[in-house]
């Protein structure tokens, strides 16, 4: 392996290691189990969303609606529990159903009604940002809120639901690993295995690299694409569930920042191990990279706009790694 090849392959991982070492020296408390877990927690949301969008990138698509699916799921969870007075199980099911349904609709619009993916999911994004506000006439949802008709909502957030965002498992230290980190790891391993090692996943890559060839080879291309959007929608709704459980209320929000961070993580993932293609492992590393960077910079009292700048710079560097250094021939 030449120097150039190994730089492409391991450059990003080396950069990540370098960052960790730098922050450990420059700040107090960066290298503690708590800080490590916290970095994972802070990226769990964007990580899960990014893994979902990776599935759509794999089939050569794109999903701009994930941020608003996540915030809609958050509102739905809050609505189901606070207004409809249901328990955590119903709330989780409702969220997942919404994610799957929105993904299915996205897929149908893109594959059967032939609307380009960016435009279809952009439309869905606006639709959801509006839709999530309709049931409560634009109010955020919290226990004891006043409804549009003047009555008071009687429901509460189910403690079992809040535990999804707040419970901590004992690992090395007591109460160390938050449930959201466990969800992130489980989801990451699942999608990684699914994309890399199952026939279904391999065919999704085939659809993404050359849909026509895949079709001639007998693969039901539309079905694979629709499944990719369903995966993306469901993952985004899982992110929304965790968000609702952490905040303990339904917050009206567009979720655009979630979308941007998730897409950034997935794109940075292209550069990891010189893959030059969407891949679950790279996405997870990309999310972690952004998390380490933001945690470290915040600990050094760097203001938020500088952090956005740094995030953007990392993304540009990653894309240069992918498209220029490694060329389009890799793999």
């Amino acid at each position: 392996m030449t120097l150039r090849e190994s730089a492409i392959r391991y450059g990003f991982l080396a950069l990540l290691a370098g960052l960790v070492i730098f922050f450990s020296l420059a700040t107090n408390g960066f290298t503690s189990p708590q800080a490590a877990v916290f970095i994972l927690q802070s990226v769990s949301l964007t990580g899960i969303l990014a893994l979902g969008v990776t599935a759509t990138l794999v089939v050569g698509g794109f999903d701009l609606s994930i941020g608003s699916i996540a915030t809609s799921a958050m509102m739905a969870a809050a609505y189901v529990m606070v207004v409809l007075e249901q328990d955590a199980f119903v709330a989780v099911l409702a969220c997942l159903a919404i994610g799957a349904l929105v993904g299915l609709i996205n897929g149908i619009i893109i594959c059967y009604l032939r609307v380009p993916d960016l435009l279809a999911t952009l439309g869905m994004m606006f639709l959801l940002i509006g839709l999530q506000r309709i049931p409560t006439e634009g109010r955020s949802i919290a226990a004891g809120m006043t409804m549009p008709d003047g009555s008071t909502a009687a429901g509460q957030f189910d403690p079992a639901f809040l535990a999804l965002g707040r419970h901590r498992f004992d690992f090395i230290l007591p109460d160390l690993v938050p449930a959201s980190v466990v969800v992130l790891i489980v989801v990451a391993v699942l999608i990684w295995f699914f994309l890399e090692y199952t026939r279904f996943g391999r065919l999704m890559y085939a659809v993404g690299s050359n849909a026509r060839a895949a079709e001639f080879a007998g693969a039901p291309v539309r079905a694979y694409k629709i499944w990719a959007y369903i995966i993306s929608g469901v993952f985004a709704s899982i992110g929304g569930i965790l968000l609702a459980a952490r905040l303990g209320r339904g917050d009206i929000a567009s979720g655009n920042n979630l979308l941007l961070d998730a897409v950034a993580a997935a794109l940075i993932g292209y550069a990891v191990l010189g893959a030059s293609k969407p891949n679950a492992f790279g996405t997870a590393i990309g999310a972690l990279f952004v998390g380490v960077l933001l945690q470290g910079l915040t600990m050094m009292n760097v203001p938020y706009y500088t952090q956005d700048f740094v995030k953007g710079a990392v993304l540009v560097v990653a894309l240069v790694f992918t498209f220029s250094l490694s060329g389009r021939t890799a793999r």
């Binding site: 916290f38 006043t146 952490r246 567009s254 470290g296 009292n301 203001p303 938020y304």
Partner: protein, 350 residues
């Protein structure tokens, strides 16, 4: 009509008896044009509208307009500055007598507001400076908000502590709150600002929580967090809870909502106090200031709605669970005696 008026007077009399609202509420008939309020049309031209604050503000505008009996038309530009200016022209074309400009940018609204004034329309502006002598400014006093919260922090924690401060520059109300913070730091040299952070990435509470986690990890000896915007405070509270520091950190903030109330009242909550102006009251005051102009009275150049300090103890002692109960149980929060000439109907008196 006679029946309704009799009833409302009865209600006012009862309210006056119980809440000491004062006698002027029973005064003579309203001045023109409010003797025939059904013919009066006013418009609310909004720049910002999504979020609990703006919902409550609108509710306040609606309730005062209803109490006066005037027609209200709401224009919502949804953060489109050019559209907001066009909407003022639309309102002029519709023949409204009065306009409330709610937020917006000085640059885009200055000329539109002047056109309205030139057309003989009375205008008031809320939280936007349109640089016009004929247009009164309705404001919630951000400096007072910050001052009330910080005075409580001094009262609770003494004059020297290590602080974390949440701030995003360039947002007018936050900048005004920041001025007070800077003054306080000068006045009390014992206050040591160990970290300043903040972001408006939405969901704001979630993004601020991530930042605050880093800050408390780097500075575990912070005892006071000054987060002068409730979304900031929510984020800080999540971070402090997650870091297991709820008992060693106290959070002081500004603004309040139903969700904030439940967060402040959680067992062992670090959120000690918040200073807030009731957005519904601000909405009512906006309409009242406009009504005074229409009746030929002068509400003053600046109409300032005073804030109220709300502590965790207040909420627990009165068992307050949402904004309605807060208004009901803390009367100073429910009504501001601002722009209240004798003839003005009080929308809160039922």
């Amino acid at each position: 009509m006679i029946n309704r008026r009799t009833f409302s007077r009865l209600g006012l009399a009862l309210a006056a008896g119980s809440a000491l609202l004062g006698m002027p509420a029973l005064a003579e008939d309203k001045p023109a044009p409010f003797d025939k309020p059904g013919d009066v049309k006013i418009a609310l031209v909004r720049y910002l509208s999504t979020g609990d604050f703006f919902q409550a503000y609108l509710a306040g505008v609606e309730s005062q307009a209803k109490a006066l009996g005037v027609q209200l038309q709401v224009f919502d530009s949804r953060q489109d500055a050019a559209l907001q200016a066009d909407m003022v022209d639309q309102a002029i074309a519709l023949g409204v007598q009065g306009i409330i400009i709610q937020h917006g940018l000085t640059e885009s609204m200055k000329e539109a507001a002047q056109r309205a004034v030139d057309a003989g329309i009375k205008v008031v502006a809320f939280d936007v400076n349109v640089e016009n002598d004929k247009i009164p400014q309705v404001e919630q006093s951000d400096r007072d908000l910050a001052r009330l919260a910080l005075e409580q922090a001094i009262k609770d924690n003494g004059e020297s502590w290590k602080a974390g401060y949440v701030y995003v520059a360039g947002i007018a109300p936050l900048d005004r709150r920041n001025e007070t913070w800077v003054e306080f730091k000068k006045k009390y040299p014992g206050i040591n600002e160990a970290a300043m952070f903040g972001t408006l990435d939405n969901p704001i509470a979630n993004s601020v929580a991530n930042q605050a986690r880093s800050v408390v990890t780097a500075n575990p000896d912070i005892t006071v967090m000054f987060a002068p915007y409730d979304e900031f405070a929510k984020g800080v509270k999540i971070a402090v809870d997650e870091a297991g520091l709820s008992s060693s950190v106290k959070i002081y903030s500004a603004d309040i909502s139903t969700a904030d109330i439940s967060a402040m009242r959680e067992a062992g909550s670090a959120w000690a106090a918040t200073a807030a102006t009731n957005p519904a009251v601000v909405g009512q005051v906006s309409v009242r200031a406009l009504a005074m102009l229409l009746a030929g009275e002068d509400p003053g150049k600046q109409v300032i709605v005073p804030p109220t300090l709300i502590t965790q103890k207040d909420l627990n002692d009165n068992d307050i669970k949402n904004m309605e109960e807060l208004s009901a149980k803390l009367p100073q929060f429910a009504h501001a005696d601002v722009a209240m000439p004798a003839w003005m109907p009080n929308p809160n008196a039922k």
